[in-house]
């Protein structure tokens, strides 16, 4: 096992994510699925744009603060070549919209309400994600 194992920080971070999603749900009445939120910013609809744009701005504020205070936490050190990163971005953008959600929408919000659709999605993207990481890792020569 990696010595980068951070169960406490990861659990706490997860709790904050759950809390933030709960706020969006209970105050705004919407699912806090980031792919859907971003989609709503890129394709604005009346009444659905402002809170989403503000949410994305909020993500940026948190990330910007981290970049100043704890830059190692937002480091882009995956060592993947740019062409793979671009391909990855395309796949994530297209796939999350086609599949109606991502780790936050299906993984957190969907599983929390025992959604069958989300369970299928999560199992699928976790399995494919793992397989991809394993294969790419061997191909690129990871430890």
């Amino acid at each position: 096992m990696s010595d980068d194992f951070t169960p406490l920080a990861s659990s706490l971070g997860g709790a904050l994510i759950g809390l933030a999603s709960a706020l969006v749900l209970l105050v705004q009445g919407r699912v806090a699925g980031v792919s859907g939120i971003l989609d709503g910013v890129l394709h604005p609809r009346p009444g659905e744009f402002a809170w989403r744009a503000a949410f994305v701005a909020g993500l940026g504020v948190a990330g910007g603060a981290a970049a100043l205070l704890a830059p190692a936490l937002v480091s882009a050190s995956s060592d993947r070549p740019p062409v793979l990163i671009a391909l990855a971005g395309l796949l994530v953008g297209f796939g999350t919209r086609l599949g109606s959600g991502c780790t936050s929408g299906h993984g957190v919000c969907g599983l929390s309400r025992f959604s069958r659709r989300s369970l299928v999605s999560v199992i699928t993207f976790l399995a494919v994600g793992a397989l991809t990481a394993v294969l790419v890792g061997r191909w690129l020569g990871s430890p």
Partner: protein, 137 residues
């Protein structure tokens, strides 16, 4: 105005959670997904921590007639498993395993200005746009 404040506050909280959890470090995400490598199970704790809190919120929904900020609930209602759901998840998984980023962490980390993160976000936006075009064809 209320909606903007809610969005901003939730976004800051969410982004902070992502950073704390380690999700904004693609190397850490890949170390979680690459089960054959030097495995880091930390991210399993992220989803467990998140669901533990969020579950409570879902149970409160039926008791609220309306969202606390006014308006109405607009929540998913579909229960069918269709090809779009599965193929979408496959494509997302491919991208996630390749790049180590999913949408939230990518947007959060992009604030650092790191070129590879900006590249990912740009490509992700193109992907979202491409999907919208494909659906509208």
């Amino acid at each position: 105005m209320k909606a903007v404040l809610l969005g901003l506050g939730a976004g800051v909280l969410f982004g902070t959670g992502l950073v704390l959890a380690g999700m904004t470090r693609p190397a850490k995400v890949i170390a979680f997904l690459d089960v054959a490598g030097d495995w880091d199970p930390s991210l399993a704790f992220v989803v467990v921590g998140a669901i533990a809190v969020h579950l409570v919120a879902w149970r409160l929904v039926p008791r609220l007639g309306r969202p606390l900020g006014g308006g109405h609930f607009a929540l998913p209602t579909r229960t069918d498993i269709d090809a779009r759901l599965v193929v979408g998840a496959v494509l997302f998984g491919l991208g996630w395993g390749l790049g180590g980023y999913c949408p939230g962490p990518a947007l959060t980390a992009a604030a650092s200005g790191a070129p590879s993160t900006l590249l990912f976000v740009g490509a992700m936006i193109v992907g979202i746009w491409a999907h919208a075009r494909w659906e509208a064809r």
